[in-house]
């Protein structure tokens, strides 16, 4: 039964900004444990698509369905807001491009990581704190920094803290918007490694939006290539990147500088 229904299913997702196309007629299926990459240049519609899939933007047309833990399939776009908010805090995770958008800057790292646990009813300070310390270790942040404010962290550390904060409740689906954007190349590499391990260890499903093909190569099982709001090519990551069919994909692939 479970194997027949994807975790997330989108059909015909379309969103206009006035007369301008944000994204048009996008469909996808995401299965448990699968990472889907959405690539394209800025203006391709990938961020719009992510917004629509996660219920934060209202599409002009289309459906998005999510299979909950209890097996029931819910219509994300027609869910009442309370239910959507609850979903976003428990079974979903969001990693923003700018970690400051996904963190509480005015409280300590420990509080940031512990918040979701407290929202779910955790009431033992010592246990919440050690869970936070544990997670800091898992995202390779010095555990001594549990009582420090995110303001004092480097941007790479802030990004890892954001990831810890989101993953602490082990959500089944994580949306990531340019998770390595704005980071130094070496920091990026380390972050990607971490993400890859976490995805495998936790059996996460994820949709990662990025303009960086290297990110998809490392993390994504499958790819959607977007251009001008439409999906021009899709398939297994290696196939699409090694043997691109669409001229635009070919252009993208060939323009990546080879070291």
């Amino acid at each position: 039964m479970d194997g027949d229904v994807p975790l997330l299913r989108a059909r015909g997702v379309t969103r206009y900004y006035g007369s301008r196309v944000g994204c048009r007629d996008v469909g996808l299926d995401l299965w448990p444990g699968e990472v889907l990459g959405v690539v394209g240049e800025s203006g391709s519609g990938k961020t719009t698509l992510l917004g629509c899939l996660s219920g934060r933007l209202e599409p002009s047309a289309g459906t998005v369905e999510f299979r909950q833990r209890d097996g029931r399939v819910v219509d994300v776009l027609r869910m009442p807001e309370p239910a959507l908010r609850k979903l976003a805090r428990t079974d979903w995770g969001i990693v923003h491009q700018n970690p400051r958008d996904g963190l509480r800057l005015g409280v300590t790292a420990g509080a940031n990581v512990g918040e979701r646990l407290m929202a779910l009813g955790a009431r033992h300070y010592g246990q919440i704190r050690s869970a936070a310390v544990d997670w800091l270790g898992r995202v390779e942040i010095d555990r001594e920094r549990v009582d420090d404010w995110p303001e004092t962290f480097s941007s790479g550390m802030q990004q890892r803290l954001q990831i810890a904060r989101t993953l602490v409740t082990e959500p089944r689906l994580v949306f990531m918007d340019e998770p390595t954007g704005g980071l130094d190349v070496s920091v990026q590499a380390r972050l990607l490694d971490l993400l890859r391990r976490l995805v495998t260890d936790l059996g996460l499903s994820a949709i990662i939006v990025t303009h960086d093909l290297a990110v998809t190569r490392l993390l994504a099982h499958r790819l959607l290539v977007m251009r001008g709001g439409e999906v021009v090519e899709s398939g297994l990551t290696d196939q699409v990147l090694d043997d691109p069919q669409h001229p635009y994909t070919q252009l993208l692939v060939s323009s990546v500088l080879q070291p």
């Binding site: 908010r85 300590t108 420990g110 509080a111 407290m118 009431r123 300070y125 704190r129």
Partner: protein, 275 residues
């Protein structure tokens, strides 16, 4: 004052406020919006409490008004005079003889009884206000029981100070569902809220909210299992009556920093001294 209705407010307004009170009692701890009226007292000086009292008071009530635990602090005097002028009801300083008690910042030390009503004056009703300034957001958070951020605040305090930093207006969980601000009573008074036999009504005039804790309702101060809620203690006893486990006022008696401590609840103190 004969030109004014009994208790100043017109009957329509009283009815409107009573409806809000009934709703509040039906949903313990939930803030009910109401059409607060301008009163002859300033906003921030107890208009919410006054409107609630004015809506429930009847000619046979016996009214006590206290501020900081005392019957004759200036604002308590002012409010008591207002009700005497507009209702002519009997007033008292004795907690055990009052049917209706309007209070600012204290719960009387004398235990309350079934049938009594206590009306609290509330400046800021919203417990999440310092964490989230927008009303649209906080209403959603209450509706969805999104209280994680409240405990984040407590977690932070313990991390930084080893204690929760809130000394008064300490947030509580009412009937296991809504988080509520008990008004700026010292946390010392919070345990009195739990399963109190009296009806507790809370009025915020400026912010236009009414909420309630019905008799015998569970009220738990927020804490962590390993950092349980504690109340204030003094080494001293009351210099006038010798009481120990009461909330004390600190009086500076000379210019060398000499101090003495006396009961904040003047009625309680007087009765212990046999006055």
């Amino acid at each position: 004052m004969s030109a004014y209705n009994f208790a100043f407010l017109d009957e329509q307004t009283k009815r409107m406020i009573r409806r809000a009170i009934l709703k509040a009692v039906a949903i313990p701890g939930y803030q009910v919006p109401f059409g607060s009226r301008e009163m002859p007292l300033s906003y921030g000086w107890g208009t919410g409490g006054v409107q609630v009292t004015a809506s429930v008071i009847g000619p046979d009530d016996v009214l006590k008004v206290i501020d900081q635990g005392a019957d004759d602090t200036t604002n308590a005097v002012s409010i008591r005079r207002f009700f005497v002028k507009t209702t002519g009801v009997r007033t008292t300083t004795r907690t055990d003889q009052a049917t209706l008690i309007q209070t600012r910042h204290r719960i009387p030390e004398t235990p309350l009884a079934e049938g009594q009503i206590v009306v609290f004056q509330v400046p800021i009703p919203e417990p999440l206000r310092w964490l989230e300034p927008r009303e649209t957001e906080t209403r959603k958070m209450h509706a969805l029981e999104e209280y994680g951020v409240m405990h984040v605040r407590l977690y932070e305090d313990i991390t930084r100070h080893g204690h929760v930093e809130t000394a008064y207006d300490y947030p509580v969980l009412v009937n296991g569902r809504y988080i509520m601000r008990p008004s700026p009573i010292p946390k010392f008074d919070n345990p009195k809220l739990d399963r109190n036999p009296a009806l507790l009504l809370f009025g915020a005039g400026r912010e236009k909210r009414i909420y309630a804790v019905p008799p015998f309702t569970s009220v738990r101060s927020l804490d962590f299992e390993d950092h349980p809620f504690t109340i204030e203690r003094w080494d001293q006893t009351c210099a006038l009556c010798g009481a120990a486990d009461v909330f004390m006022d600190e009086i500076v008696v000379d210019d060398k920093g000499g101090r003495m401590f006396v009961c904040s609840d003047t009625d309680f103190c007087e009765r212990r001294r046999g006055r």
